[in-house]
Amino acid sequence: MKDSFKMEVVNNSLHVGQLRIIGVGSSSVVLVGDTEIVSCSSIFDTPLESLLIGPLVPFAPES
């Protein structure tokens, strides 16, 4: 059997006065509380070839 990790948590008090946030975006997390697993992925692509200069050609339609 694998070695296991023992963790003991005592939550005495969790009281937040005020939470002021401008923005949360692109698979981000704001958490007041407990969790076990968080995995956030975000891909943002704006390469050189995504700046198209020339006649405005529409994209292929939805399938």
């Binding site: 939550n11 969790l14 949360v24 975006g25 698979s27 958490l31 509380g33 995995s39 992925s41």
Partner: protein, 134 residues
């Protein structure tokens, strides 16, 4: 003993594109968002434009961490309350999460392809285009 989530007041201006506000506990949150963001010099858009299949970014696999730790977790909640008096947020967007409370798993994914379409300038020479600072 589980904890109750108590929020005095929550003011959120906008919550969009698979964003989630959760007050209280849950097991899993898995928001997912695919965005094709297009800016055109002349803003003419056909209603049905954009096919995710033609951009590999929307189907590329994202490597995920392998979670294989064995953890014996014991939690004792002396004060069974999670309290936030005031929540004041302007925007939550594209597969984001704000939670007051507990969860087990958050698995968020956001994919954005940003394209700008500009018209050719009459005065633009090839020399100028070559020295453009990108």
């Amino acid at each position: 003993m589980k904890r109750a989530s108590i929020v005095g007041s929550a003011k959120i201006r906008s919550l969009l594109f698979s964003a989630i506000l959760q007050i209280g506990d849950n097991y899993i949150i898995a928001p997912n968002s695919k965005v094709l963001a297009t800016q055109r010099e002349i803003p003419v858009f056909r209603g049905n434009e954009g096919n995710f299949a033609s951009f590999p970014i929307f189907s590329a696999s994202i490597p995920q961490p392998i979670i294989n730790e064995h953890i014996h977790l014991s939690i004792r909640n002396e004060n069974p309350v999670i309290q936030v008096d005031i929540v004041d947020v302007i925007g939550v967007s594209t597969a984001s999460v704000i939670q007051i409370g507990a969860n087990r798993i958050i698995q968020a994914e956001s994919r954005t392809k940003h394209i700008r379409q500009l018209l050719q300038r009459e005065t633009e020479t090839t020399e100028d285009a070559g020295s453009a600072p990108f």
